[in-house]
């Protein structure tokens, strides 16, 4: 009786926690893909510690339902869905591993080699598998008991990965930036890019041009430039309008991004697409620094629905009342950068061409989880 009561209060506790998280992302109290990813994985850790299930499908459904709820709370914060899909893939993988080792014939049970062959192969190729039935009855209990610590361990690894992402990306800086090179960065709000530049500055001497990105990131630009200058990097802040004229002198454009889509396209802060186009015209390489948690299995089916529109007051202040009445003011926060504009994506797994991103998607997510 007492134990049951404790369980109920625990569940209530968890529900309140989820509720609070949903409210926080709705109100943008948790913002930025890194913070959202971290918070989501920590929430999932709690959910899984409290979760009870008799069959793995139940757990998957539970997580999917939760995922749907979180995603609809803030559909443009793709990192949240990405983490949930990563965890789902983890759960499926762990359960399949257990099944294989329990039944002892994983080699034959697993579909033969490649997906192209899936037209011809069947799982019961050489007689029915005597063990396949046992997974769902007696042994089900023992699988469940085994699985939980593994999944929790997996999520903890994911959190560790998130925390060390900037480090592993920054360590590639020395290969990317040459001595005396001029770098242009249009995303001063990116922690990853900041660390990347600061770390590389320890070994290389280079110039950074920071684009102001009016109106959303002006203050951040100044902070960003200050940090670089303090680290001894020669830093110049330029206005957005100057980008094209100065591009001829730039060696590389390095940008951070909000999300990477499955086709290698980016959702980066507004203005990035234009700057990438300028870079393309001058044949200046465009390098993107991104953690894998930003990689979404989505395709840009409908670009407009992915782009968030922000505070118009930043473009036209309310004091300009006479103008406000007469013009439409829009302030999109993101830009869609097509994959053709990007030359290289540096992730914590290494550097990849944007048209390889679909492969990373297949490696890290399960196709059945693409729609939560």
């Amino acid at each position: 009786m007492l134990a049951a009561g404790a369980h109920i209060s625990k569940e209530k506790d968890l529900n309140a926690h989820i509720e609070a998280f949903v409210a926080q992302i709705k109100r943008r109290q948790i913002q930025g893909s890194y913070n959202v990813a971290l918070a989501t994985s920590q929430l999932l850790l709690r959910v899984l510690s409290a979760a009870r299930w008799t069959h793995i499908d139940q757990l998957v459904t539970q997580i999917k339902v939760l995922g749907k709820r979180l995603q609809s709370a803030q559909p443009r914060e793709l990192a949240c869905g990405n983490i949930i899909r990563r965890v789902l893939a983890l759960i499926r993988e762990e359960s399949e591993d257990t099944n294989d080792s329990e039944s002892g014939d994983g080699a034959i049970n697993s579909p033969l080699i490649t997906s192209m062959f899936s037209l011809l192969s069947t799982n019961d190729e050489y007689g029915p598998n005597p063990h396949s039935q046992s997974l769902y009855d007696g042994t089900g209990r023992s699988i469940k008991k085994d699985l939980k610590p593994y999944i929790i361990e997996g999520i903890q690894e994911l959190i560790d990965e998130l925390r060390s992402i900037d480090e592993s990306i920054a360590s590639m800086g020395v290969e990317m930036i040459h001595e005396n090179e001029t770098i242009l960065t249009p995303t001063p709000n990116s922690r990853t890019v900041l660390k990347f530049l600061l770390r590389t500055a320890q070994k290389r001497k280079f110039t950074v041009l920071v684009v102001e990105v009016f109106p959303n990131d002006v203050e951040k630009t100044h902070e960003f430039a200050l940090k670089l200058a303090e680290a001894g990097i020669e830093t110049t802040v330029i206005t957005d309008a100057m980008v094209y004229s100065i591009m001829g002198r730039v060696g590389k454009v390095i940008l951070g991004t909000h999300a990477v889509l499955a086709n290698g396209g980016l959702l980066a802060s507004a203005g990035a697409a234009m700057i990438c186009q300028c870079a393309n015209v001058h044949r200046t390489p465009v390098v993107v620094c991104t953690g894998l948690y930003k990689l979404s299995p989505m395709y840009p089916f409908d670009i407009e629905s992915l782009i968030e529109v922000g505070d118009t007051g930043k473009v036209l202040e309310f004091e300009d009342g006479s103008l406000v009445d007469k013009v439409n003011v829009v302030n999109p926060l993101y830009d869609y950068v097509p994959p053709e504009s990007v030359d290289l994506c540096i992730t914590n797994m290494g550097g990849y061409s944007p048209n390889f991103m679909y492969r990373l998607v297949i490696d890290h997510y399960r196709q059945e989880d693409t729609t939560l």
Partner: protein
């Protein structure tokens, strides 16, 4: 999806010849009797029928029989690119099973027993493609399709069933005029269609939001071999910055690396000669296929996922070199 119950293949009645087995005739009959069957699958099914009628005594005899039949089939059918994808995959599958498990007799039994299953799966894969491709179609889209492709049609019909409202430009696609049959199918299912002649694609392209084409074969580079006219549509789409999606089953991936349409096997040679004489049946000898290179293709929608063109070579390498 578990399709554990076995579905033996229904044999076309007179393919069971007493002495010689005519693989080309069997192949043709399969295609004729089931308009939904693709060429690679028909080739696979013909090979299954062959296996069911032969009693090889060794593994190498089995492979030899298959190799001969494949050669005969490729020689006997004029347009053999697509079917060679099926043949290659089939041979490779048998070979790998023999190498992996050593039990070639069991492999033969498995293939013969499940002949009908492959066909069902191939059809199911077309439905799976449609499901994967569904989000690519949105309300108020104007779509351009070329010629007749079962995979594309399936996708558009699924979208219509999901109450997505879109319009379709269909090219007539000379000289086969297969576009007309696409147009009819779509109109029968309530999709508004406008048929245009192939030459009008450039006129229409500005109004088009996206282009969908099928493929007869998908080459290793990720480029496609398809009904003639696809290349020029792809060039126009690229020029006006419209996405071009290829909708094709993964069993159409073929180990070819053409650089131009002239690298394709047995394409009508007459089209490449010039004459001062007036010819009556000139149009008939015009080429039926062309090659669209991978840089013109936005993405391939296949049953193994939405791939960029580099994904094709990866799948092929996995199959042949792993």
């Amino acid at each position: 999806m578990t399709l554990s119950e076995t579905t033996p293949l229904k044999l076309p009645p007179d393919s069971v010849a007493s002495n010689g087995f005519d693989i080309v005739a069997t192949y043709r009959r399969f295609l004729r009797e089931d308009p939904d069957m693709t060429m690679p699958v028909a080739a696979i099914e013909s090979l299954v029928v062959l296996l069911s009628q032969t009693e090889p005594t060794t593994a190498s005899e089995l492979m030899d029989i298959l190799a001969k039949a494949v050669a005969e089939l490729k020689k006997g059918v004029k347009n053999s690119i697509s079917l060679s994808a099926g043949c290659d995959m089939f041979q490779r599958f048998v070979l790998r099973n023999i190498q992996e498990y050593g039990d070639w007799e069991a492999c033969r039994r498995h293939l013969v027993k499940n002949g009908g299953l492959f066909l069902d799966r191939a059809k199911a894969s077309r439905y799976r493609i449609a499901e994967l491709g569904l989000p690519f179609i949105q309300d108020d889209d104007t779509i351009l399709i070329h010629s007749h492709s079962r995979a594309v049609t399936e996708l558009l019909l699924l979208a219509a069933r999901h109450h997505i409202r879109f319009r379709v430009f269909v090219t007539e696609s000379r000289p086969t005029a297969e576009g007309l049959s696409s147009a009819k199918t779509l109109r029968d299912n309530g999709i508004p269609v406008r048929v245009i002649v192939d030459g009008a694609v450039g006129w229409a392209i500005q109004k088009v939001d996206k282009v969908f084409v099928g493929a007869e074969g998908v080459a290793e580079s990720g480029g496609i071999i398809n009904r003639v006219g696809t290349y020029q549509i792809a060039v126009l789409a690229k020029d006006s910055n419209k996405p071009l999606y290829v909708v094709a089953e993964s069993h159409k991936f073929v180990r070819l690396f053409p650089l131009s349409p002239f690298d394709l096997p047995n394409e009508s040679p007459a089209a490449n000669t010039f004459t001062t004489e007036q010819e009556d049946d000139e149009i008939q000898s015009s080429p039926l296929l062309d090659f669209t290179s991978d840089n013109l293709i936005t993405a391939l929608i296949t049953d193994i996922g939405v791939l960029t063109s580099s994904g094709v070579s990866e799948e092929l390498i996995k199959m042949w070199y792993d």
